[in-house]
Symmetry: C2
Subunit: 438 residues, 2 copies
């Protein structure tokens, strides 16, 4: 029976999970692929740490280059993370004509193009299912199952930390800070949560998805990124009254010659299937001209779910090796000469629906002043909500709009904020409705 | 550029949809695979029918054998359906060493083994993603993405007609017959709906899933199949009070030396992600030892969604042809010599939770009699519900049980029904709870 040797770089959480699958599920994998996957070498700087897996004698090393330069190893699994040493090792592995499996979304989002080119040059594969949505087969679906479709949009909940926090705010009446503390206490958020809650992690995944879905190069700096730190109980409560809830959504759309790719807190209908994705779960809704909508959900992080996706990639490459095939599927989902540079439109040009929350003096005619300014910028009102009365302190007024360009919204809100009757800076949250979905 | 010729048999709904994708999405497919997919011939007995697609001159024929015997054609797409002529054509195509793509679940569930063997013998592929869950990549996920997992359970909502009817009963206070009439009026149910509402369609898909997930041969006659015709407003209403709703669920589990594979109306918690799958949507929850739970949803039927899955299969095979590879992935998900015959346990041996609805005389002590009999069969009660009082006509009493074997349930209910205080035949519905899920 054929034996395929694998080298693993990094024995952190997901690296250890991957080792666990390769060692403990060797039997079931052999039954499925007809070959033996053998974890020949695994490198980590800390070999004294206790890990939940029993390695074969001689597997462990502190020297990553010993793994990368091993002639018997066909597949290098990079589980180090980060953009410096991980990148060097991947480059070295590709130059050694080894296939690479990675979950390194930051690196791929920012240097994917360079690495993919190097892989093509050396006629080897880079597989990265685990970089987006953990266990969920998003990349495989885009590159393979849905390859007969023109993909028109992909919307996703791609960060478990944010989804956990927003679920807590919505379901357990917490404010942001309390929910964040809870997420940290339960291991769903890092001590420094900036990378997650400010939307950068989601943005890396969004860049990868948009490239794959639309066959384009994404300039990561062109993405619009807004985190969830400004989300309050108040807005979540009002959202609910209008039949919406708030998710940190990655929104991507193919507009033909350009694309939309933005990450921000978004109101979606409680009927939207993504509204059902609670807690630390991730999900992606993929829209295609034939398929309509397909929604995939599962754990977006965690030792074994992420390792499951890494193992799926290793198995894919192993099956290519068994059948003497290389680069069977273009790494970025499209043939190299077909990848077009499509600009990401600036957020000001995005056309969507909006939720506004104003805090106004409670007097007759104030609403007409606000509505007048909105109207002068072509902003049509879908519904208005003003429940409470409070002549002393002012009242909140909620407005939901029809489709309008963000540039107009910003100008209108600026003009409205300048009015004497407006007591606080207006809040606005973008809505992703059926008429904007695809 | 390489050109891969495709032959299509049957221009019904999905066949026409497939032609539409091959013709209208030829450009996007070429960009993704670097080759041209060319629909060389398409056969149907009725060529006069108006179809929403413009065929190249010379494509259409009434003679299926002209397609199957065309030496230039590499892939035969069987879209005829049924178990007689479709089977003959598939056999002929395999013997001609052509790859086959089909959505024919009835044929695969009952004669899959025979066809797969023939495909192996001729070193060609049979692809059948569209046979289960329409557009949803269930088969690809089981054979590829999750191949590093021991799959422990797969539960699915696999029939849009049933899900539509059950959603109507639950959400719009209809009774079964009214909901069925609505489904028929809206094109979600056939004039003769037996095949769908009695669970046979779901059962065919269940057999395919269980074979793939657990690497076993399934004897279709061993599946337990119960349809939805007995579901009433009353039970749906009570289910809701206990936090459950009712779905026609395909339940499969790997028990080690045997498997569970059963199709019946099932109560699931409203928190279960499958509870969110409304209307004609399909979904599958796949449980694996690494991945935890992955849930995939989408349209389980319809022209273009099903054709999307067929196109995905064609593209997979085309990529093999481009790279001169055959049978890269075992058709049934496991190497042939690793497929074990595992018996499906009889429904009487299934261990699960139950919902009982009794209609009892409203007198003191009647509950203790019922509970006494349940207890004598080892059936532990989780909760009891008796809201109404009605000394004249009797009252409904709802009981939810802990895990118990179905054989004991049937014996207990028989004994209870014989009591004078029991006015109607007891109703029971199986519950799929977290403690039974995987």
């Amino acid at each position: 029976m054929k034996r395929i040797n694998i080298g693993l770089l990094g024995l952190g959480t997901v690296g250890t999970g991957t080792a666990k699958i390769l060692i403990e599920n060797k039997g079931i994998i052999k039954k499925r692929i007809g070959a033996e996957l053998h974890l020949k070498k695994a490198a980590d700087i800390d070999l004294d740490k206790k890990r939940e897996v029993v390695f074969e004698k001689g597997t462990l090393t502190k020297d990553a280059l010993e793994v990368i330069n091993d002639d018997d190893i066909d597949i290098i699994v990079e589980m180090i993370g980060g953009k410096t040493i991980a990148k060097e090792f991947i480059i070295k592995a590709l130059e050694n004509k080894k296939h690479v499996v990675t979950a390194n979304k930051a690196l791929l989002a920012e240097a994917g193009e360079e690495l993919f080119q190097l892989a093509y040059k050396n006629n080897v594969d880079i597989a990265y299912e685990a970089s987006v949505g953990g266990a969920i087969p998003i990349i495989k679906s885009l590159r393979e199952s849905l390859a007969g479709n023109n993909i028109t949009a992909v919307n996703g909940i791609l960060n478990g930390t944010c989804n956990y926090i927003l679920s807590k705010i919505a379901n357990e009446n917490m404010e942001f800070k309390e929910a964040l503390a809870k997420a940290q206490a339960n291991g769903y958020a890092e001590a420094d949560p900036t990378f997650d809650i400010e939307g950068f992690d989601t943005a890396h995944k969004t860049a990868i998805i948009a490239s794959l879905a639309y066959g384009t190069k994404i300039n990561f700096d062109d993405l619009y990124i807004e985190g969830i730190t400004g989300i309050t109980q108040t807005d979540i409560k009002y959202a609910k009254e209008f039949g919406y809830l708030i998710k940190l959504l990655a929104i991507t759309k193919d507009l033909g010659d350009s694309i939309e790719a933005r990450i921000h807190p978004t109101m979606i209908s409680t009927d939207n299937i993504l509204a059902k994705i609670d807690g630390s779960l991730n999900a992606a809704s993929i829209f295609g001209d034939a398929v309509g909508e397909v929604m995939l959900s599962g754990y977006g992080a965690g030792m074994m779910p992420t390792a499951s996706a890494v193992a799926g990639d290793i198995i894919d490459i192993a099956r290519n090796i068994i059948f003497n095939t290389k680069a069977r599927i273009p790494i970025a989902g499209f043939m190299q000469d077909q990848i077009k540079s499509k600009p990401v439109i600036p957020i000001e040009d995005v056309l969507t629906n909006y939720y506004f929350r104003f805090f106004l003096v409670d007097k007759p005619n104030v609403l007409s002043q606000v509505a007048g300014i909105l109207g002068s910028y072509g902003i049509s009102i879908k519904s208005v909500h003003q429940k409470e009365r409070n002549p002393q302190e002012g009242v909140p007024v909620i407005i939901i709009t029809y489709l309008v360009k963000e540039a107009e919204v910003k100008k209108a809100l600026k003009e409205i904020f300048a009015l004497d009757i407006v007591l606080e800076k207006p809040v606005f949250i973008r809505i992703e409705d059926e008429d904007t979905a695809s």
